[in-house]
Point group: C2
């Protein structure tokens, strides 16, 4: 059991876990605030105090609303790894490479623990860092890298550890979900809602990582590694963001009984020859209104894990923000203080499997398609003929009114359950058509 | 780090975790099936094999659909604790006392780990067992005792460990939720749905523990202990089940924008003098249709934890069943195999605080009240006068048609946000009234 249980009602006198903190942005400041505000609770649960001894950031004098004068200062953050008075380094700097990665490598090489919120670094270098950590040995923890304050890394590493995970999927990017659910609530178009979100500080000035699906793809690749015991393979996440979703699509989905969500999804398919392939996909999807993910609005994140014994589990909460992210970072520190020592990705890196990507060849599904076409005779016939020739069976077809002065018209349809490759074939047949004025939007329909 | 990370791609050769299993009902059989089906995954994640060596149950020869011939058999389950070839005992017998408790005490006294799904035993004797486990020291784990397959004990012990928990609440009894959501979907009355649930095996022949709220109260008292660091105090859970909820209440709630759910809720209130008191309450409540818990239907469980940094977190999944419960039991075993050693209730028992119960004196809320009255002049005036005299402000009042041949009429109302003690005072004023033909139903309205 943990330290010092025998001294009744006395605070533990175990030595503190000594922390160096790199990065003093909102999350770093949130972590300092948390360790002050919840000092007693954290000490009781960790079995010993958690104590920041050194900090580093770009600008020492910036006002962050927290007192950093009592911590040692390092101009060069990568030097923190070498400090003799530090047990764990917390990396909140960001960036998949550069100083963050150097600091991470140095920290682990020095046999110290590393706690990070850096999803890009774990998505790109998680295997290398975990291998180093297992060899050191040193703890490597990254709860805050996925879905902010939701303990879903722990949920998958430990909570569902008894299960073969059949599928994981969820809402992994708060900005995109905020934009989609605001479009849903207001009827406004993507660009208007994005501009408003940027003005309010809910979206970055350059929103590409969020609305383009890359942030969600980082998180998905990490979750897939834990869930399936596969080597992290960020490079093979199929990734499409929400920039192509129009207000008309959301209205159309609503009329059909769905909402649109940016869904990150991963599973493993087994081919006829027994070969296993990993599907990882970030895409806007139609979610039935009765599905738990349909009720996830605003910047909230939610992850569904389907285990072969647990059944469907849902983890939901704030996906970002200084408080929730600091909560996840400190939970990792408490685990380290308690002496938790299992493998960063649940199984040792040496046992993780490198899997080929699945592609969409073998997949079937019900699909929503929306075309933007010129308003002239024969367009519908052209589209429906391409569907027929590709073997796509149309369940319902909706032609909507003129949407622009240029005479642009939207044609939406739902295709019956069928192979995804047939959809791709139909789109290829239409690719050269002068009737289509924009790339068609294709969205999977999630089953209940 | 965990064992044996240095031998690349080789299965671990660490010694197995040797398990004695007491109780071979559906969960016990499920656990045997899980360890067979997922043997490779479990071994990889645990760092060593999990191996059942001995079993015990009332009837050795019963067909359970699993082969138990390869395990040693113990007629007396309490003898398992003394076996030299056992590291951990899994207790799936049930009952707060009796053989289960004896086995638990003996196991821990022998320095072996105990994993249990027994919520009644933990609710009644969790403090004693945890104290013994900390002194031994020996692991004591009970994920399966709360909310079946949902890793919410872990979520609170570890995932939210950095937070002061402000409130926990949720749907903790699958049978009650099945009945309420079926009443909602079909319009049928309680007794009809209960009878159907019993016929289908979804409800026990004696459903008192479930529909009376006691099962939920067991779970709530355990969660409260972990969340607030308070000694488990099952005896002071305010507990009211769903037997008083009528189809008319569900229809009325629906018209007002709510669904009815049996909610277990706990928080700590701080009095003017700084005294902290623990509120624990299991009661049917009105939940706004936009709230995540409103979408939880069937036998599903869901727990909301509100942390001062994490914000609102939701954990949802199957609250019972052999697969989900076995998933939770084996997750605990994997934790033990990995060497996880922190305190059973997150902080040592010696640091847990015994708190007085809060009662409802200081509470305020919006409230739904429903009276069953005789159909005669002056009844409404009598009720509204009692409300006025007790200081209860009525937000809306609904008189419904005659519902029985005896001339019984339902009167429902929503009271504005106000002190709960005023509601109690109004009910006391009406207690002796001959106009009321049954105990009024009072339900808190959960805010969004």
């Amino acid at each position: 059991m943990a330290q010092d249980h025998s001294s009744p009602a006395q605070p533990s006198t175990s030595p503190p876990l000594r922390i160096a903190l790199a990065g003093l942005g909102t999350v770093g400041a949130g972590m300092i605030r948390l360790l002050e505000t919840n000092a007693d609770i954290v000490r009781a649960r960790a079995g010993r105090p958690l104590e920041i001894v050194a900090v580093s950031a770009r600008d020492r004098s910036k006002n962050r609303g927290v007192d950093i004068s009592r911590f040692a200062w390092e101009d060069d953050m990568t030097a923190m790894a070498a400090r003799g008075d530090v047990d764990v380094v917390v990396e909140l700097v960001g960036g998949s490479d550069g100083p963050a990665l150097t600091l991470a490598r140095n920290t682990i090489a020095a046999g110290k623990g590393l706690v990070t919120a850096n999803k890009a670094m774990i998505a790109h270098h998680g295997m290398e860092l975990a291998r180093l950590a297992e060899a050191a040995p040193a703890p490597l923890k990254f709860e805050a890298a996925v879905a902010g304050g939701i303990p879903v890394v722990k949920g998958l590493r430990e909570g569902t550890a008894a299960n073969a995970i059949e599928r994981i999927y969820g809402i992994l990017n708060g900005t995109s979900n905020y934009i989609l659910s605001t479009m849903e609530a207001t009827g406004a178009d993507f660009s208007a809602v994005l501009a408003e979100a940027q003005a309010k500080g809910y979206a970055e000035a350059d929103p590409t990582f969020d609305v383009g699906g890359i942030d969600a793809a980082h998180k998905l690749s990490i979750l897939a590694g834990i869930a399936f015991g596969t080597c992290i393979d960020f490079g093979n996440v199929e990734c499409e963001g929400i920039t192509g979703v129009r207000a008309a699509d959301i209205a159309q989905a609503d009329a059909l009984g769905y909402v649109i969500r940016l869904i990150g999804m991963a599973d493993v398919e087994t081919g006829g020859d027994g070969t296993q392939r990993l599907l990882q996909r970030v895409k806007p999807c139609l979610v039935p209104k009765g599905h738990p993910l349909a009720h996830v609005t605003g910047a909230t994140n939610a992850v569904v894990a389907e285990g072969n014994f647990s059944g469907r589990l849902l983890f939901q909460g704030a996906g970002a923000g200084d408080g929730p992210t600091a909560s996840a970072v400190v939970a990792d520190l408490i685990d380290i203080a308690r002496g938790e020592t299992s493998a960063p990705f649940s199984i040792p890196v040496a046992e993780m499997v490198a899997m080929e990507p699945a592609g969409s060849g073998a997949r079937t599904g019900r699909t929503y398609l929306r075309f933007t076409v010129t308003d002239r005779p024969g367009v519908l016939a052209e589209i429906t003929a391409a569907m027929r020739d590709a073997g796509v069976s149309i369940e319902s077809l909706i032609q909507q009114g003129r949407v622009s002065e240029g005479g642009e018209v939207l044609v939406a349809m739902v295709a019956h359950e069928g192979p995804e490759k047939n959809i791709a074939r139909a789109l290829a047949l239409l690719e050269a058509s002068p009737s289509l004025t924009a790339t068609p939007l294709v969205m999977q329909i999630i089953s209940g």
